[in-house]
């Protein structure tokens, strides 16, 4: 490789990074701008961040976002872990097509997932309306006839798109595990459930934690799927930001976006550092 070539290489790399990160960099800088402008720098201030804390709409949506992320992560982690164990116990002929089915939602365009979930909920609510009307006519006790999308549907949607990430992160840990460990535990007096708590869980814990962190990250920064499934009564932070931009992109949006960006960045960094450390540990174990 000659010098000229290596210069071009570097230039190309710099350009890639500029295009990737300049917008975010700009956004972060202007979130600290003293003035109202998104183009002219008028000095450093934390005004916009202070304003955020007083904005009830934003605080409410931060609360919604955290609640839906935490709940969906918790539920998806439990469900995904058991699903992964189920996959692990299957014969390969059955497992591989099912794993492909599991992976599709992650590749699938968010908008398709969002719209299809929305359709599902609407269809279900219609059916429910008919069922509830019939049930109420029996006169046992009353069921609500009209259900609408809101926090519940938002939560279900988040659980749905989180589960595959947990499965994907727990599965490899199970496969790395010595397949005789469960037999050994049962040989020494454990029932299957005791073997799960005492032997499988400690072995796959790193995978579960990574899966949960990934799921949480996905939940926090999801916009498209939430938009289609939250209805009008619940609003996540991403949705609120989107709503605010309809009027005008204020530096307040810069500030809240910066906070969201930093949160997700930290979470991703934790996930990656954990994975790198486990990789090293595993190599050490193999040596």
């Amino acid at each position: 490789m000659n010098k000229n070539n290596s210069f071009l290489n570097r230039l190309f790399m710099v350009l890639v990074f500029v295009f990737l990160y300049a917008p975010i960099f700009l956004l972060i800088i202007f979130s600290f701008n003293a003035g109202n402008s998104n183009t002219v720098w008028k000095g450093f201030s934390l005004d916009w961040y202070q304003k955020l804390l007083r904005d009830r709409l934003i605080i409410q949506s931060v609360y919604t976002t955290l609640l839906v992320s935490l709940l969906s992560t918790a539920i998806a982690t439990v469900a995904g872990t058991f699903a992964a164990i189920g996959f692990y116990a299957m014969r390969r002929k059955v497992r591989e097509p099912l794993m492909t089915v599991n992976n599709i939602p992650m590749m699938n365009a968010d908008i398709v997932t969002g719209v299809s979930l929305c359709l599902l909920f609407v269809a279900f609510f219609n059916g429910w309306g008919t069922f509830a009307a019939w049930f109420n006519s029996l006169g046992l006790f009353r069921l609500p006839t009209r259900l609408t999308m809101g926090f519940g549907t938002l939560l279900i949607a988040h659980i749905t798109f989180n589960i595959p990430y947990v499965i994907l992160s727990v599965g490899p840990k199970l496969r790395q595990m010595d397949k005789n460990l469960v037999d050994a535990a049962m040989d020494l007096g454990c029932t299957w459930m005791q073997a799960f708590w005492k032997v499988i869980l400690p072995e796959i814990k790193p995978g579960i934690v990574s899966g949960a962190l990934t799921a949480f990250t996905m939940s926090i920064d999801d916009f498209v799927i939430s938009y289609f499934t939250a209805g009008s009564s619940a609003s996540t932070l991403a949705m609120t930001i989107y709503g605010m931009t309809k009027k005008r992109v204020t530096p307040e949006i810069n500030a809240i976006s910066t906070l969201l960006f930093v949160t997700v960045l930290i979470l991703l960094a934790i996930v990656n550092i954990r994975e790198a450390r486990q990789e090293r540990l595993r190599e050490k174990r193999l040596v």
Binding site: R175, N180, A184, A185, L188, G189, T191, V199, P202, R285
Partner: protein, 394 residues
């Protein structure tokens, strides 16, 4: 030594429409060291897993002390297992690995007269028993090490201690020495035999290594293709193999087509040889086994047979020479050197000849035409980890 402890009755196992075990019948005595010996895929590990309770036979019964235990889960059997590659719990240290089984146990409370209340084993007793086991396996001072900080041989011994601390009636060992190097394997063979005699319980041992089986066992069960080929003491199996498969699998054998002229007289290559076997029909076609070490080299004029040396390998204690007798190649082990191309005579004493009935294995083994390959294969077999019957693992 003579009390029967385990009996397998008409055991059959089918995996994915593939028969893995065919009508296995076997009894195992108390305090016996029994080895299931055979090549990969012969069904020995499946048999062990059925005894341990990790696999359910398709048909047939497993009896323990006369009681049918087909449906008893592993955690309720008085049987413990040492797994291939040990399966130590990586997140627990040596002490906790060994104590694992004891912590799971509950037994009747001695202070409760009805005997219905169950209590855990007190911590002092656990400590004492774990320490005792560490003594048995000579690993005192290693209690706080994690398994991955131990050598293969040490992990092996921890796995044995983890099983034995529960005082099982039977210990199952699934190729426990497979991952160790040759020197360590030899030491561990002696160590295992010593431990078995010290604790005085039944060992059921699975291996594909015939030398291991001969060294340690009271009884050897030779298996192939899901069926038992022969059951006997190491001496029986070596000296009186039942068919060509057993003769070839245990040690080196020349297996020659012969005709049993009458009792104590067998004919090979058109010549008659006195032997000690009997009980065959007159002029019945048979397989004749001659061990390489039972053949004496003599001058051509005194030989019962005359052949040409085609290959000589120096083995330290002896020479392995390949001799061509009319197109059929024999292996002869001798301390005398004969150069390649030499014409030699051989003499076989009557007790060096073993006659077997014809079987489905006749003609498959015992010819040393492909001498060097056969040796390579044997070396590979002892090194390769046994992946048989592992289901559909990657």
């Amino acid at each position: 030594m003579s009390k029967e402890l385990i009996r397998l009755r008409n055991l059959c196992m089918v995996y994915d429409d593939e028969p893995v075990l065919n009508d296995i019948n076997l009894y195992i005595n108390d305090k016996e060291f029994l080895t299931l010996l055979g090549p990969s895929g012969c069904g020995k590990t499946t048999t062990l897993r059925i005894i341990g309770g990790f696999a359910t036979p398709t048909s047939g019964d497993v009896l323990f002390d006369g009681v049918r235990i087909n449906d008893v889960p592993p955690y309720q059997r008085q049987i413990n297992t040492v797994f291939q590659k040990y399966a130590l719990f990586p997140h627990l240290n040596v002490y906790e690995n060994i104590a694992f089984g004891l912590r799971m146990q509950k037994r009747p409370d001695p202070s409760d007269p009805t005997g219905r209340k169950k209590v855990k084993i007190p911590e002092e007793e656990i400590h004492q028993r774990v320490m005792e086991m560490l003594e048995v396996i000579s690993l005192k001072g290693f209690e706080h090490r994690k398994p991955d900080a131990l050598s293969g041989g040490q992990q092996q011994r921890v796995a044995i201690a983890r099983a034995l601390v529960n005082r099982p009636k039977v210990l199952l060992l699934d190729e426990p020495l497979g991952a160790l190097d040759l020197k360590l394997r030899k030491d561990m063979q002696i160590e295992l035999k010593r431990i078995q005699q010290q604790v005085g319980i039944t060992f059921i041992y699975v291996t594909h290594d015939q030398e291991e089986a001969l060294t340690m066992s009271d009884t050897i069960v030779v298996m192939d293709k899901g069926s038992i080929q022969q059951i006997g003491t190491p001496e029986d199996i070596y000296n009186e193999p039942k068919n060509a498969f057993v003769a070839d699998f245990i040690g080196e054998s020349n297996i020659i087509d012969g005709i049993m002229v009458r009792d104590k007289l067998v004919q090979m290559y058109g010549r008659q040889f006195p032997c000690l076997d009997g009980g065959f029909d007159e002029n019945e076609p048979v397989d004749v086994v001659i061990r390489p070490e039972d053949i004496d080299i003599v001058p051509v004029e005194q030989g019962q047979l005359v052949g040409t040396v085609t290959n000589v390998t120096f083995k330290g204690m002896q020479y392995d020479i390949i001799v061509d007798f009319r197109g059929f190649k024999w292996l002869i082990q001798t301390t005398d050197h004969s150069p390649v191309g030499a014409r030699i005579g051989i003499k076989i004493d009557p007790d060096g000849i073993h006659v077997m009935k014809k079987s489905k294995y006749s003609g498959m083994f015992g010819d040393y035409s492909s001498f060097s390959e056969e040796y390579d294969e044997l070396d590979d077999a002892s090194l390769a980890p046994d992946e048989e019957e592992s289901g559909d693992e990657e």
